[in-house]
Symmetry: C2
Subunit: 170 residues, 2 copies
């Protein structure tokens, strides 16, 4: 985690709200990822992954939180805003974060396969682009990571159970 202006307690407070969003995704049987956008200490955008429910590839938690924040701010520029997200953003969401000129991004768990902030790329800190973002990683990282692990373990368990039932019915 890098040096940061906001206190650790504040970061954890907002990450807990992002985790609450992720739980909403889990209820829908979606991969549990949640995000919020904060401006002057107020939550102005919330989102949780709803890709499967709406069969829309753009319905990532961050995108939905950013869209709501734009609507609430009446502006596509979110210059003094912070984004909290339970999982390291992918390429698409990193692009939206840059385009919106978000100031600080706080994420929980790393995503070694598709993360574009630290894992595969460092898109939020490319000096060739007209905006760079401060990045803080590992905020409640264990909790965020455990939620995803539990979700995928449950998926595997259900699949195994379904295969077992299929075999029994043959």
């Amino acid at each position: 985690m890098e040096k940061n202006n906001s206190s650790l307690l504040e970061q954890q407070k907002f990450m807990k709200l992002a985790i609450a969003e992720a739980r909403q995704a889990k209820i829908l049987d979606e991969v549990p990822i949640g995000a919020i956008v904060v401006h002057n200490g107020q939550v102005i955008g919330r989102g949780h992954n709803m890709r499967e429910k709406f069969q829309d590839v753009t319905y990532h938690a961050e995108m939905l939180a950013i869209m709501e924040a734009c609507a609430n701010m009446g502006s596509w520029r979110l210059e003094d805003c912070d984004l909290y997200v339970t999982l390291e953003p992918c390429i698409m969401c990193s692009g939206a974060i840059i385009n919106a000129r978000i100031k600080n991004v706080y994420y929980g768990a790393a995503d070694p396969k598709a993360g574009a902030v630290d894992s595969l790329y460092h898109l939020l800190n490319d000096s060739r682009l007209n905006h760079q973002v401060n990045v803080y990683s590992g905020i409640l990282g264990d909790e965020c990571s455990q939620m995803l692990k539990n979700f995928f373990r449950e998926i595997r368990r259900r699949r195994k159970e379904a295969r077992r039932k299929n075999r029994t019915n043959l």
Copy 2:
């Protein structure tokens, strides 16, 4: 431009539809960028830049075309689909293209400042990701590029005119 299965005439036919979308953006005083998504020779998604009108940072031409295509296909997976866009996609749109598993991307003009397909990155051909995209550049490139140049020339002319009027009124 790389070797390609579809004929040059077909590529131009679809790029003209993307250009027609870009003209719709121009009518709204938006940066004229247009995109379409094609499946089995049929247009299943259209979009033009509407970022200013809706003050939504995600309202790029490609995103809107992809969202419409997902709705029409009833799926977030656009595996056998092609995307035509008048300008080289940015990071956000490149991410959406990868996430949607679009097969081929045809673009018109290059974007040296923010293009993430060839100019700043080669995001659509990253072997670490679970999907790669065939890229064909320069389709009606001059026409796509000229439309953007004309738009920005007109913006500069209007600004100059406004400054002149302001000086006169002082």
